[in-house]
């Protein structure tokens, strides 16, 4: 039991960041919808960005809906390009050395990004704190939590999968509105 707790504590290095402060501010319950049961990590990651940016055609990639048939299983850039064209989803499909700039641009402007992260794996970049050099990533194998990475660790994570990111070409979501007596 102690062993289990130890491993759990190590996994707990994943910081439960305050999700509302992140570029992708989805509640845990919504992130759980994008759990990856069958190697559909690319679609899970794009879907999470889709629901965050209020793009139903992207949010529903994993399921059969009026926006199109479900897209399950592994993907590469060409498959993403194909199903995005079919569904009319506007995306930036970026490979190579420019991915770092695109990831920074996405989170600094309130958007998430589906990114290569881990060996042959895709996850969702949900935030970046440039003051501490911390990157926040949601893994679709454990969508209930947000993992925090240092610059160096994040670099290793991204390079392990190959430099490929997908950013939705839609406006970021507004902050959760609330009434403030400003007048």
């Amino acid at each position: 039991m102690r062993c289990f707790l130890l491993v759990a504590a190590l996994c707990g290095a994943a910081v439960a960041a305050e999700s509302e402060q992140l570029a992708v501010d989805l509640p845990k319950e919504v992130r759980q919808w994008f759990f990856n049961p069958d190697g559909s990590c690319v679609q899970c990651s794009i879907g999470m960005c889709g629901v965050d940016q209020n793009v139903p055609a992207a949010a529903t990639l994993l399921w059969d809906t009026e926006y199109g048939s479900r897209e399950r299983g592994g993907s590469g850039p060409s498959r993403v390009a194909r199903y995005c064209r079919q569904r009319g989803i506007r995306v930036y499909n970026v490979t190579g050395t420019a991915t770092w700039d695109w990831m920074k641009w996405a989170v600094e402007n309130g958007r998430g990004a589906a990114i290569g992260a881990g060996r042959r794996h895709f996850q969702t970049l949900v935030g970046h704190d440039p003051t501490t050099g911390t990157w926040y990533v949601c893994n679709n194998n454990s969508p209930g939590r947000i993992d925090a990475y240092s610059d160096a660790a994040f670099r290793r994570l991204h390079l392990a999968s190959g430099q490929w990111v997908v950013v939705l070409d839609y406006p970021p979501h507004p902050a959760r509105p609330k009434y403030v007596r400003w007048w």
Binding site: N54, V91, A98, D101
Partner: protein, 297 residues
């Protein structure tokens, strides 16, 4: 305990195996190299090599755009009318263009009230009807908390009135927060260079304009001679008093001691004494005051 550990290890390996499968086509990523493919339904496959460098860059930052959200319901005639009117009304398009997210002044979103994937966003909002239009400040926080509702209204069918009301609310809000938000409005945090400086050469050569005026009074020899030869005389006494005051003040200044009067008041006192001295004696007194200047090198 061992069993638990083994079970956890199995779960972990299963997770790794899932991620390590064919989920991402790494070979294709390597084959493509540096590439940005913009799939926007209009320009696919038409990019030429000259535009590749430009295309590799991310778009301009848009964190300073305002947010306009339209919350609608299904089978809502007023909602449909608003969407139609919005596309046809230049005043509304000037605020937010649903068909041109890049060119739009504000980020435009359309939310369905019964969409469970978005409903949590509006937990703090009270809806009185649909469609409801919400306006919020940019996420850059240039105008305060981006979650603040700057404007909320339902649509009464007049697109121009809606645009006017939205713009008025934004103006009113900006005027309110500009005073309180750091870095917005107000004076800059430093003294800027003058816009029109008649003597710009002053920046290049040492200042010749005196920056300190010292009051010097000659020793009142004549007043002393008058007192010695002619006896008591008010003008002569005043001359001595003036000299004494200036002398004491100069000594205190040199010793960095506090002064009883500032320079202006002291000057007025001397002027008053001088006037009194002049009125007491028609002739000019022995004491002559002059201004001398010192310059900083």
């Amino acid at each position: 305990m061992m069993r638990l550990f083994l079970m956890f290890a199995m779960l972990l390996s299963a997770s790794v195996a899932r991620a390590d499968g064919s989920a991402v086509d790494q070979a294709e990523i390597l084959r493509l190299g540096d590439m940005v493919q913009h799939i926007d339904g209009r320009h696919y496959g038409q990019s030429d090599t000259d535009s590749i460098v430009e295309a590799m860059r991310p778009p301009e930052d848009d964190a300073d755009k305002w947010f306009v959200s339209v919350v609608v319901t299904r089978n809502c005639a007023a909602c449909r009318k608003l969407k139609t009117d919005w596309k046809a009304c230049p005043s509304l398009l000037a605020l937010a263009d649903p068909g041109d997210s890049k060119g739009s002044w504000a980020h435009y979103h359309e939310f369905y009230r019964d969409d469970q994937s978005q409903a949590w966003r509006f937990e703090n909002i009270k809806f009185t009807g649909y469609p409801t239009i919400l306006v919020q400040p940019p996420r850059s926080k240039a105008y305060g908390d981006p979650s603040t509702v700057v404007y909320q209204a339902t649509y009464d069918g007049d697109p121009r009135a809606l645009a006017t009301d939205m713009a008025a609310a934004i103006r009113q809000y900006v005027a309110k927060v500009s005073d309180s938000v750091e870095g917005v409005g107000g004076p800059p945090p430093w003294l800027p260079a003058p816009k029109d400086d008649p003597d710009t050469s002053g920046r290049l050569i040492p200042p010749l304009v005196p920056d300190e005026v010292a009051i010097q009074v000659e020793f009142p020899w004549k007043a002393i001679l008058t007192l010695v030869t002619a006896g008591f005389s008010i003008p002569a006494v005043i001359g001595l008093v003036v000299w004494l005051l200036v002398f004491i003040r100069a000594r205190r200044k040199d010793a960095d001691k506090p002064l009883l009067l500032d320079d202006g008041t002291f000057q007025r006192l001397l002027d008053a004494l001088e006037q009194f001295q002049a009125s007491a004696e028609p002739k000019k007194t022995a004491t002559r005051r002059k201004r001398s200047t010192t310059t900083k090198s």
